[in-house]
Symmetry: C2
C-alpha cells in the first residue's frame, strides 16, 4: 500500500525529473513491467526498455513541465495531475496541455501511466 | 466516434450542470449502463438509477465546480479535467480538488467516469 502523500511525491518527482533534464530519475519511478499510454488512445508501451527509450527521447526535446493545479491523489492506488508541457518542436516552441493519471504497485512504483492530451491541446508558439 | 471538441463540450456541460443546480442535465450526459467511480478506489456505481441518485444528492449539497485548467481531450474516446469543488458540509464550507477522467461511447455519452480525489485533497473553510 502507498499512501496519498507517497503518490503525490512520486508525481512531483516525475515533474522534477523533466525539469532537471534527468531521464534516469523518471525511469527509476517505474515498475519493470509498467505500461505507458501517451497519449491515451495510442497503443501503450510496455516494460522498462521501451519506457526508458521514450523518456530519453522526451528529455532530448527539452520539454519542461509546470503543474496547472495541485496534484490529486485518490482513495485507491492511483493519482493524477494536470500540467503544461513546453517543448521545442522542429516548427518552433510548442505548448501541450496534459493530464497524467498513474496507478501504483504495492511498492510505490508506477505500474501504469496514461496521458490525456489531444491535438486540440497543442498549440504552437508556446 | 466522438471528436475532441464533442468530448470537451460534454465535460463543460457537466460543470455547467452543477453550477446551474441541474442534476437532470448531468444525468442525461450518461449512457444507460455507465459506471461512476467517485472517488477512485471505492466500488463504482453502475447504471442510470444509481447514477441519478448520486447526482441528485450531490446537487443538494450546493456543490459548485470551477475548472482549475482547460479541459484535456485525448487521441481516443476519453477526456479529463482538473477542477475545484466548493460545497457545504455539515461542518461548514469545504473545498475538494478533483480530476475527473471520462470515457465515451460511440454516441458521445459518458460510459465511465472516474474521479481522482483523496482525503489530502479536501480542506475545510473552502
Amino acid at each position: 500500500m502507498v499512501d496519498e502523500n507517497q503518490m503525490k511525491n512520486v508525481l512531483q518527482a516525475y515533474i522534477d525529473g523533466f525539469n532537471h533534464g534527468d531521464a534516469e530519475a523518471i525511469i527509476a519511478l517505474y515498475a519493470d513491467d509498467a505500461t505507458v499510454e501517451d497519449p491515451v488512445g495510442k497503443p501503450p508501451m510496455q516494460g522498462k526498455p521501451a519506457i526508458a527509450k521514450f523518456y530519453r527521447n522526451s528529455i532530448k526535446t527539452g520539454a519542461k513541465l509546470a503543474l496547472a493545479a495541485p496534484i490529486r491523489a485518490s482513495q485507491g492506488q492511483e493519482a493524477g495531475m494536470a500540467f503544461d508541457v513546453r517543448l521545442e518542436m522542429p516548427q518552433g516552441p510548442a505548448l501541450i496541455r496534459v493530464i497524467d493519471v498513474m496507478r501504483f504497485d504495492s511498492e510505490g512504483r508506477i505500474a501504469s501511466m496514461r496521458a490525456f492530451w489531444g491535438l486540440s491541446d497543442m498549440q504552437m508558439g508556446g
